[in-house]
């Protein structure tokens, strides 16, 4: 006698009711309908779990720059101007996203630095409390949406070699493709080179991307809302993703306002120590 022969008998009425119930309930999940009560999480993991480790934002300069370029985005690091109380207060008030708990708070703020040509930088910067004490040098990392256009020396009579400094960000091509995104990776940790800290990922996305669905192996996925800069409410949107230090892979799905993945919006990233 096989196990199938031992299939518990089910009255036809109960069988039918079960099938109908499950089928009807399942059909409530449509192709485009976002879930009821789906509450995009503005502040991801770090704000939802206790943090035992003191952290500070640390970034590998070359790594960040290479990452940004490899992903066709634009990332940057800032220093060495000095932190003032007045500026800190203003930045916190203007923050798009805030997270963490004192003394390990962080803020995603509109970029407040200028480039070598004195022009305001586009995009946003991640400001970590423990790294930006009054009197210390600013230590932030930023990300901008669009194709970086580097001036070349030829423009000033040189040999066409890209020159640093007055980089311009061209959003036009990216705005035709909601799957384009820029990313800056860094570490939140006590020691810059220790690689013990949590990952901090700054993301810049198309204005149509409302939410990021973030998944890492071994943990359930979560959502991170994207937010625009207040001065460009219809412009590119930004988010910060905090991941455990042990994360080695991440899958990010770019979702529109209906919760539907944008075409080409599935990104697999390998986090390289």
């Amino acid at each position: 006698m096989s196990v199938d022969d031992l299939d518990p008998p089910v009255e036809p009425e109960l069988d039918a009711r079960l099938r109908e119930t499950l089928s009807r309930v399942a059909m409530r999940v449509g192709d485009t309908a976002p879930g009821p009560g789906a509450s995009p999480v503005l502040i991801p993991a770090s704000a939802r779990r206790p943090r035992r480790r003191r952290w500070r934002l640390t970034l590998t300069v070359i790594g960040v720059a290479l990452t940004a370029l490899l992903l066709a985005g634009f990332a940057y690091l800032f220093g060495p101007e000095y932190v003032t109380e007045q500026k800190l207060v203003q930045l916190r008030e203007d923050a798009l996203v805030k997270g963490g708990a004192e003394p390990n708070r962080y803020w995603l703020v509109p970029s407040f630095h200028t480039d070598a040509c004195g022009r305001s930088m586009p995009g946003v910067e991640l400001l970590a409390e423990s790294d930006n004490r009054v009197g210390a040098e600013w230590s932030t990392a930023g990300v901008a949406y669009g194709e970086p256009v580097f001036p070349t020396a030829s423009a000033s009579g040189g040999n066409g070699v890209p020159s640093p400094g007055c980089v311009r960000i061209d959003e036009r091509g990216w705005l035709n493709d909601p799957s384009r995104f820029a990313l800056t990776t860094g570490r939140l940790g006590r020691h810059a080179a220790s690689e013990e800290g949590d990952w901090a990922l700054l993301v810049a996305v198309h204005p149509a991307v409302d939410t990021l669905r973030v998944a890492t192996p071994g943990s359930s996925a979560h959502r991170v809302s994207t937010v625009p800069r207040a001065d460009r409410p219809q412009g590119p949107r930004y988010a910060v993703i905090i991941l455990p230090a042990t994360a080695t892979r991440i899958r990010i799905v770019l979702l529109d306002e209906k919760g539907v993945p944008v075409p080409g919006g599935v990104k697999n990233l390998k986090l390289v120590r």
Binding site: L22, T67, L70, A221, R251, K270
Partner: protein, 152 residues
């Protein structure tokens, strides 16, 4: 530093074709559409790491969704107790049955969903869950007993 990796085209196609199907399964297992979506993302993430080794992608993804639903359920219970049943269809008899199903022990609910929604046999459920067929039968028998009792 991060490196961008592109999904194999086949995985993208499976994602497009079966995402909704898998989210529905996740929804039935968790009672939450959001959790269902999360389970599916987690399943695809796991699958993407070993895509070339997977012979039956849909079966693999379903198994991943079911397994992750179990993990999620344990976490949820630890965090906030058993989640409340939620009416979803505005059809009383459907909502009543759905609420009863959500009150089943998680293992039993999984078996019921796989048996009556996925229409899998006991052996297929046993293979998917990697549990003895006799255990699956026992779970199903107990679940049916609870359902009959609740519907009296």
């Amino acid at each position: 530093m991060a490196e961008l990796q592109t999904d194999p085209p086949e995985l993208e196609q499976v994602y497009r074709d079966h995402r909704v199907t898998l989210v529905r399964l996740g929804f039935l297992l968790t009672g939450s559409r959001e959790d269902g979506e999360d389970l599916v993302q987690g399943a695809f993430l796991t699958a993407s790491a070993r895509w070339s080794e997977i012979e039956q992608p849909l079966a693999y993804l379903k198994r991943a969704v079911v397994n992750q639903a179990g993990d999620l359920h344990k976490r949820r219970v630890r965090e906030r107790g058993r989640p409340a049943a939620e009416g979803v269809t505005e059809i009383p008899e459907i909502d009543e049955m759905w609420a009863i199903l959500q009150r089943l022990p998680h293992r039993q609910r999984i078996v019921v969903v796989l048996r009556f929604y996925e229409d899998l046999s006991l052996l297929e459920i046993a293979r998917l869950l990697q549990r003895p067929p006799a255990t699956i039968r026992s779970d199903l028998r107990r679940a049916l007993g609870r359902l009959r009792k609740a519907l009296r």
